[in-house]
């Protein structure tokens, strides 16, 4: 499977990354090198194999329903690039 420039642009938009025209060639080669290497997985017989997302089987990790201190609001806002009245401020989302 080969990934072409159109596909890379689509993926870049989904990833919120901007790939310049001059970098496109390098990115295309690097991505295809890796994708053709990992294509070896097609050689494996995976029929009926249960996918494994985690190495340690832990299910339903519960804790007591108790209020414990968490990060205070002002500390959570400490690294905000822009803030107003204790909220994160961003550029307009819905255009007028």
């Amino acid at each position: 499977m080969k990934i072409d420039r159109e596909e890379i642009k689509k993926i870049a938009l989904l990833s919120r990354l901007d790939i310049s025209e001059e970098n496109m060639g390098t990115v295309e080669k690097a991505l295809n090198d890796v994708l053709s290497y990992v294509a070896e997985l097609e050689e494996l017989d995976l029929e009926g194999v249960e996918p494994m997302a985690h190495a340690v089987p832990l299910y339903n990790v519960f804790r007591k329903d108790e209020v414990i201190p968490s990060l205070p609001h002002d500390l959570a806002m400490q690294n905000a690039p822009e803030e107003e009245d204790g909220y994160f401020k961003v550029p307009r989302v819905i255009q007028e």
Binding site: S15, R16, E50, P51, M52, Q78, P91, R92
Partner: protein
């Protein structure tokens, strides 16, 4: 200069913690211009803790084995009010408002940290060359990379600018640099050490681990940082043993498996010779060497990269310029995020996000991600069967010794191949340790990897410790790493 030796000196009042800390700071000032292991210093805080430890010693109080011994922490682990940049422009000005769980635990032990250590950007790399801020060199020879992504951790310990360090290991990032720098690096069982406060790369694989001068020190640091944590839902419940009790110089009757797939083509001949010699040493000490086969291991690197990059693309989606980290202003939200991410992330991080997004995207999920998760199951099952026959597995840590700067940075795939022996271990969640096993003809260190079943750190320590006692010449220190106290 090990934790356990220095602890004895502190307790015997041959040396004060402040004197020790000052000595290591002075040594660091000499090594840093060449090694560049650190991204930031915290000498004042270090000396303040050291003074507190000296007061405890003077008052006759019992101090913890780590108390007052200067170490350092990889820059993706959060220490409150100290920068955590992940060696990325994205987090250049990020100051965590909280401590990672490991840092909280270490604070309870009166740990001394001299600063934050360089790494590959967001822990993505095998040479530390992808750091946005510093070029860490190998203390054995500055023309060579220290390995990665915990290159600063391994280089600082090898250079003596830290007695111990914390790194993180997603696909070999503690073990491979430890191997390249001739020190000990441990990746604990997934879930043994809390990941709370470790800036995420691939959450189902990430694990914090110690880098130390010897195996005893690795056990001391693991004692300090392991344990259940309710803030990490993947943390394994229950008490942890005292790992230093496992430091037993005896492998009689132990079955050590050598998986033939790890000794195939692509393995450097000097690395092979060193490990075959190590196997002979074990045999001479009464262990039984067994050949085993892990045929799916060959596919582990592919499965690893698909899974790690998929998780990375999801984890790094949070860097959008909204709540913390870099923000590049723009007229609308999408443009702001796109500009922020394109300027804030380096080339390798961007490549990995693109690949991760691709393998998760509609139409390709089944072809890549799902296949990789199934392959992961087979790899885990094979380790399980191997551990029914043997107690420990012995493999190379990396197929080669350290390479030179620039050799692989423009060919990502060749860089990924350096992780071929370490990535299966993260997929299976089992513990692995890299210990020094000799030197190549160019003087660079060779690492041996030992693996055990999940929560089998004790047998790892015993096996590693026994070899260390049998091969003192393997534990030679780089000349730059000799510290005058």
């Amino acid at each position: 200069m090990t934790i356990h030796e220095l602890h004895q000196k502190l307790v015997a009042k041959e040396l004060s913690a402040v004197e020790l800390t000052n000595a290591v700071i002075a040594h660091k000032a000499k090594t840093e211009p060449t090694v560049h292991a650190y991204l930031a210093d915290s000498h004042e805080q270090a000396l303040a803790v050291a003074a507190k430890v000296d007061e405890k010693i003077a008052a006759g109080e019992v101090i913890s084995p780590l108390a007052g011994i200067p170490g350092a922490v990889k820059d993706n682990i959060c220490i409150k009010d100290q920068q955590a940049t992940c060696a990325s422009r994205m987090l250049e000005n990020f100051v965590p408002p909280y401590n990672a769980s490991v840092v909280e635990k270490l604070t309870g032990e009166d740990y001394v940290s001299l600063g934050k250590l360089n790494m590959d950007e967001f822990a993505m790399g095998s040479s530390s060359e992808s750091s946005a801020f510093a070029k860490t060199t190998n203390p054995w020879n500055a023309d060579y990379v220290p390995g990665g992504s915990s290159g600063g951790a391994a280089a600082s310990v090898a250079a003596g600018s830290a007695v111990w360090a914390l790194g993180s290991d997603t696909g070999g990032s503690v073990r491979q640099p430890a191997s390249y720098c001739g020190v000990v690096g441990l990746k604990p069982t997934y879930g043994n050490v809390s990941r709370y406060g470790l800036i995420a790369y691939a959450s189902s694989l990430d694990q914090i681990g110690p880098v130390t001068r010897d195996v005893t020190d690795a056990a001391i640091v693991l004692n300090a940082i392991s344990g259940h944590d309710h803030r990490d839902s993947t943390s394994i419940p229950g008490e942890r043993p005292d790992y230093t009790k496992a430091l037993v110089n005896d492998v009689k009757g132990l079955k050590i498996g050598m998986p033939k797939e790890y000794f195939g083509e692509g393995l450097n001949s000097e690395v092979r010779e060193a490990l075959e010699k190590a196997a002979k040493v074990y045999e001479g000490l009464g262990a039984e060497i067994v050949e085993v086969s892990l045929p799916t291991s060959k596919y582990a690197l592919s499965a690893y990269y698909i899974i790690a990059l998929a998780e990375a693309s999801s984890n790094l989606a949070r860097y959008d310029g909204v709540s913390y980290g870099l923000r590049v202003p723009a007229d609308n939200l999408v443009e702001m995020s796109t500009k922020t991410r394109s300027q804030g992330f380096g080339a390798e991080v961007q490549r990995r996000i693109l690949l991760g997004t691709y393998v998760l995207s509609s139409g390709y999920y089944d072809a890549y991600y799902l296949k990789a998760l199934k392959a992961r199951r087979l790899i885990k099952n094979e380790f399980d069967s191997a551990f029914e026959k043997v107690d420990v597995l012995l493999t190379p840590t990396a197929p080669n010794t350290a390479f030179k700067f620039g050799e692989k940075i423009n060919d990502p795939l060749s860089m990924y191949l350096e992780d071929i022996c370490t990535t299966p271990v993260n997929l299976a969640g089992i513990p692995g340790i890299s210990i020094p096993a000799g030197f190549a003809s160019n003087g660079m260190p060779i690492g041996m990897q030992l693996l055990a079943p999940a929560m089998g750190e004790e047998v790892l320590f015993r096996t590693a410790y026994t070899f260390e006692q049998a091969c003192p010449e393997c534990n030679k220190i780089a000349s730059i790493g000799e510290v005058t106290l």
